[in-house]
């Protein structure tokens, strides 16, 4: 009796723990530990309900190893995770699907009928399964109280533990299974509870196994020996009977399929999945869990047989009775807790899933079709949906309780479980066909599922109702209307199979036949065809945007957004994201996990500014396929103070990066420009050099090939050659000069000179030219100019150049060039004025550039060949002065430059 009190305390304590845990998880938002693949695998273990916990041993005690197919099937099924489950997850995440009914309804043209049929079959098939869990809990509790199961089942409602269990589970499901309108967001609180349940039930099973095997007995060998003394064990370990063989195969298959279509499995495996990549780890972790929880089934069974005899009425509860009889109070309580946890986990997930289906695929569509709730539908629909879900969950649990009270105590745990499996397996052809076969149609799906369900009802439900006397049992024996081939346990004359196998064979046969037949011989609506394409080709669909192998890792939208903010600037990034969301009809706020297309898009955007390699690395930093992504690590760190420092560091780093990026891009632009200028310069120099070389070469060849040339021509050609050679060497000198200035290697040799001397030198150099053209040169120098401290040779070169230019452009005979030198505050101003044609304003800047014709390629500049003014400008600049031109077209031009006055001694 101690144990019963402790049992209640323990159960209540456990529930409180679950409530607190789930609440904490929900309150804290993203619980990072929930995003681990181990947690995912543990949540999948919701597969092992109280049926596993108690029923496996019950089945093993009567049928030996035949309890195993229920676990070997899913082990094989897990190998299909990357093919099947991954696809289901992708589809649901991609098309915002919240349940199996939703998935199938959406696939078959968003059909309400398909959704409703799936929901109804699930409800009818699974409510008994839920009641089974209540039964297991209350019976196990009854065992603690030393009641017989019969006593337990006939207590009044208010003394019935199952009633209170149902109430608490209902509260829990309401609290944590219906928190959010959007089902795709998942229910982390619910998952955290399921994970703890899974851990507890495994732990309990292992501990009781070890306790019984190694404390109560001296190891498995001992158990084997003791049990074989009581019973011929051969029958437990042989496969010789054909019924067992067929059961083995069909139940394996049944369980393998159920793994993908049980509402609770769909809920944890697909809806609550946080990262697609987890399925690759779950595919061995989940079978490992199954193996571990079955490890001690046989030893415990044998021990139970040894203790309580072969055909005990309560072999389902050997696991509890063994430690009880041995007086291991702690272990008893742990086992009770384990079974309790198994039931809790199963019920809350299953009812959540069924509630979703019932609300969204049955009640809501019907209400909406009936025009309800009228004008309010827009803003209140999600609230309504939530309430309908809560209501549906309430009904499901109440129905399960009523079923338990009135019917379920007649059957053992395993048989109810398997009957449920057969009902949901009816979705398998529709599901697989829907995922991989475009032709699969709505009519096919409906026909298949309904046919399978009808056979299920006819072969499994009616006989069990008849055997309870609820309906007339007569026709079961003889077949309706005495047609023996319609006998529900030997339909169409199929005999020699267990009822379950018999039902699986016929229901799936008719299911597939109708499904394939109707799909092939009836058409699809346009909507159906579209949906079929979207579902079957989902990979291509994703691939168009992205290679799914590249960005399958999950990143948070917020992380991607931050990344873009940092590297593109907030405004630009937001604009780009807006455009992207609009284009793909995505709501970026709705889904915290970044859509793969968003990742690809972000990569492209970043690649635009940073280059593809950097973009890839940056995105990899937020989207990793490893079990702990950046966000997970960040989340864990967040709990400690370190993260604040780290955040600051990161922010600084990214600001620095942004600055560096800006600088780099500026430098890059400058380099590009310089490169362009240099290329232009080089091609112009090449052109300028080629021109004289061309005439030199051509004329030389002519002279060489034509020795009989007339003397006058010979003289002319030779003169041209000499002149062009001079031109060439001048050009080369100028280019080299310019290069010296530009590279800063040109040094000035300063000396002290008087302006009069400089001008005299210039006059002398230009005399010939000036007189040949009959041009007047007027020189006006202010009196009392201080001496010039400068590189005299360079200044003379500069002046000759400017004067020479002027000479070139002034008209013959009437040309006038004025050279003025005067003092302007603390610098000299020198002006060279001419009465030539002048310079158009748009050319006034350009003429100082080397070969300025680079700007208008193909045309030659109106002034002489190109480098003179560029060199002049550099000479002036090197002396610390400025060179500029003033001109009005038609009014002549004036080239002016300034030079600093370095010595202010007045000269007489």
């Amino acid at each position: 009796m101690v144990e019963a009190g402790w049992g209640i305390a323990l159960a209540l304590g456990y529930w409180v723990l679950l409530f607190v845990l789930a609440l904490r998880v929900e309150r804290k938002g993203k619980a990072q530990w929930l995003r681990s693949p181990y947690v995912y695998a543990l949540s999948l273990a919701v597969y092992c309900s109280a049926w596993t916990f108690y029923g496996s041993i019950g089945r093993a005690s009567s049928f030996g190893l035949s309890y195993l197919p229920v676990y070997l099937g899913p082990t094989i099924g897990a190998m299909l995770f990357p093919l099947l489950l991954r696809r289901m997850i992708l589809l649901c995440k991609h098309y915002q699907i919240g349940s199996l009914a939703d998935l199938l309804s959406s696939r078959y043209g968003k059909s309400v009928a398909v959704g409703s049929v799936v929901t109804l079959i699930s409800l009818i098939g699974i409510v008994p399964y839920i009641s089974l869990q209540l039964k297991a809990v209350s019976e196990s509790f009854g065992l603690l109280m030393l009641e017989s199961p019969f006593e337990t089942a006939t207590k009044p409602v208010f003394e019935d533990t199952a009633f209170y269990v149902a109430l608490v589970l209902l509260a829990f499901t309401w609290l944590f299974g219906t928190r959010r309108g959007n089902m795709l967001e998942g229910n982390p609180g619910l998952v955290s509870a399921v994970v703890v349940d899974s851990a507890i039930k495994l732990l309990a099973f292992l501990i009781v196994g070890i306790a019984v095997t190694f404390w109560l007995y001296e190891g498995p060998g001992d158990i084997l020996q003791q049990a074989s003394a009581r019973l011929d064990l051969r029958q437990l370990f042989d496969f010789s009977s054909t019924i067992r063989r067929d059961d083995w195969i069909w139940i394996s298959f049944l369980s393998m399929g159920a793994l993908f279509v049980l509402p609770r499995q769909f809920q944890v495996a697909v809806i609550e999945n946080t990262q697609v990549a987890h399925v690759d780890k779950a595919l061995w972790l989940f079978p490992l869990y199954l193996l571990l929880i079955n490890l001690f089934v046989t030893p415990l069974t044998l021990a139970g047989i040894d203790h309580f005899g072969g055909n005990n009425f309560s072999s389902d509860y050997f696991i509890l009775e063994l430690p009880m009889s041995a007086g291991y109070s702690g272990v008893v309580l742990l086992v009770f807790l384990g079974g309790f946890a198994a039931a809790t986990g199963m019920v809350i997930v299953e009812t959540t899933a069924l509630g979703n289906m019932a609300a969204n695929n049955l009640v809501l569509p019907l209400l909406l079709k009936a025009g309800w709730p009228g004008s309010e539908r827009d803003h209140n629909l999600s609230r309504w949906a939530l309430n309908i879900r809560r209501l549906a969950i309430g009904f499901i649990i109440i129905a399960a309780y009523l079923y338990y009270r009135n019917i379920s105590h007649w059957s053992s745990l395993v048989s109810i479980g398997l009957i449920s499996f057969v009902s949901v397996i009816q979705f398998l052809p529709t599901l697989i066909g829907g995922l991989f076969w475009k032709q699969a149609s709505r009519k096919g799906a409906l026909a298949g599922m309904l046919a399978g369900f009808a056979i299920w009802t006819y072969t499994l439900i009616l006989p069990s109702l008849a055997s309870r006397g609820i309906i007339d049992a007569q026709w079961i024996e003889t077949g309706p209307w005495n047609l023996t081939w319609l006998k529900p346990d030997a339909l169409f004359g199929l005999e020699g199979y267990s009822t379950i196998t018999h039902s699986v064979i016929w229901s799936l046969f008719w299911n597939c036949l109708c499904f394939v037949g109707f799909s092939l011989f009836s058409g699809q609506s346009i909507e159906e065809r579209n949906q079929a394409k979207l579902f079957v080709d989902v990979q291509d669909y994703l691939q168009q945007q992205i290679n799914p192998n590249e960005w399958q890792g999950n990143a948070y939208t917020a992380d991607v957004r931050n990344l873009l903010h940092n590297f593109m600037g907030v405004a630009q990034a937001e604009q780009a994201l807006k455009g992207f969301a609009k284009k793909h009809a995505l709501d970026l706020e709705a889904n915290p996990i970044a859509d793969p297309r968003l990742l690809a898009f972000a990569e492209r955007l970043l690649a635009g500014t940073l280059g593809s390699a950097s973009a890839r690395i940056l995105l990899q930093s937020v989207a990793r396929e490893e079990e702990f992504g950046l966000t997970e690590i960040m989340g864990i760190l967040k709990e400690s103070q370190q993260v604040i420092a780290l955040n600051k560091e990161l922010l600084k780093k990214s600001t620095e990066l942004r600055k560096t990026r800006d600088e780099l891009s500026i430098i890059n632009q400058r380099l590009q420009k310089q490169d362009e200028v240099r290329n232009d310069f080089l091609s112009t120099v090449t052109h300028e050099i080629r021109t004289p070389i061309t005439s030199i070469r051509a004329l030389s060849e002519i002279l060489f090939d034509n020795p009989d040339l007339e003397e006058a021509d010979r003289q002319q050609y030779l003169q041209v050659i000499v002149r062009d050679t001079e031109r060439l060497s001048r050009l080369i000198t100028q280019v080299l000069d310019l290069e010296r200035y530009d590279s800063g290697r040109q040094k000035l040799t300063l000396s002290r000179t008087y302006w009069s001397d400089i001008i005299e030198d210039c006059r002398a150099s230009l005399k010939g030219l000036q007189e040949g053209k009959h041009v007047t040169l007027e020189v006006m120098i202010s009196a009392n100019l201080p001496p010039l401290i400068a590189d005299t040779d360079k200044i003379i070169q500069l002046l000759i150049n400017l004067l020479g230019n002027a000479l070139k452009f002034v008209p013959e005979n009437s040309g006038v060039i004025k050279l003025k030198v005067f003092l302007q505050q603390d610098f000299f101003e020198i002006r060279v004025e001419d009465n030539g044609p002048g310079i158009e304003p748009e050319y006034q800047q350009l003429i100082f550039e080397k070969f300025y014709q680079t700007v208008n390629q193909g045309l030659k500049k109106p002034i002489g060949s190109g480098l003179g003014l560029a060199i002049c400008q550099r000479i002036v600049q090197l002396h610390g002065g400025k060179l500029f031109v003033e001109s009005e077209p038609g009014q002549g031009a004036c080239f002016c430059f300034t030079l600093p006055v370095l010595e202010t001694v007045i000269v007489q």
């Binding site: 190893l65 195993l68 070997l72 082990t75 094989i76 897990a78 190998m79 299909l80 990357p82 093919l83 060998g221 084997l224 020996q225 074989s228 064990l233 051969r234 437990l236 370990f237 042989d238 496969f239 010789s240 063989r245 083995w248 195969i249 394996s252 690759d280 780890k281 595919l283 061995w284 079978p287 490992l288 193996l291 490890l295 046989t298 290679n547 192998n549 396929e625 490893e626």
Partner: protein, 68 residues
């Protein structure tokens, strides 16, 4: 993509093997056989194969991650 295909091929192979080993006639071989100390061969066989399959799955899944 290449690794992904290889991964699926490996899984398919393991799955085929599992179906063969967990089925008849393989199970017929171990059926109704006992070791000298009384241990049923069928039980040992099933759990051993099961464990080895899980090991193989773990290795394949790990290799996939290592391969990228």
């Amino acid at each position: 993509m290449k690794f992904h295909r290889l991964y699926l091929q490996r899984l398919t192979a393991i799955m085929a093997l599992a179906i063969l080993l967990f089925n008849f006639p393989m199970l017929g071989i171990v059926s109704d056989k006992f070791l000298d100390n009384g241990w049923p061969v069928s039980l040992l066989y099933l759990f051993a194969v099961w464990a080895l399959l899980i090991l193989a799955l773990a290795l394949i899944s790990r290799k996939r991650r290592a391969d990228g």
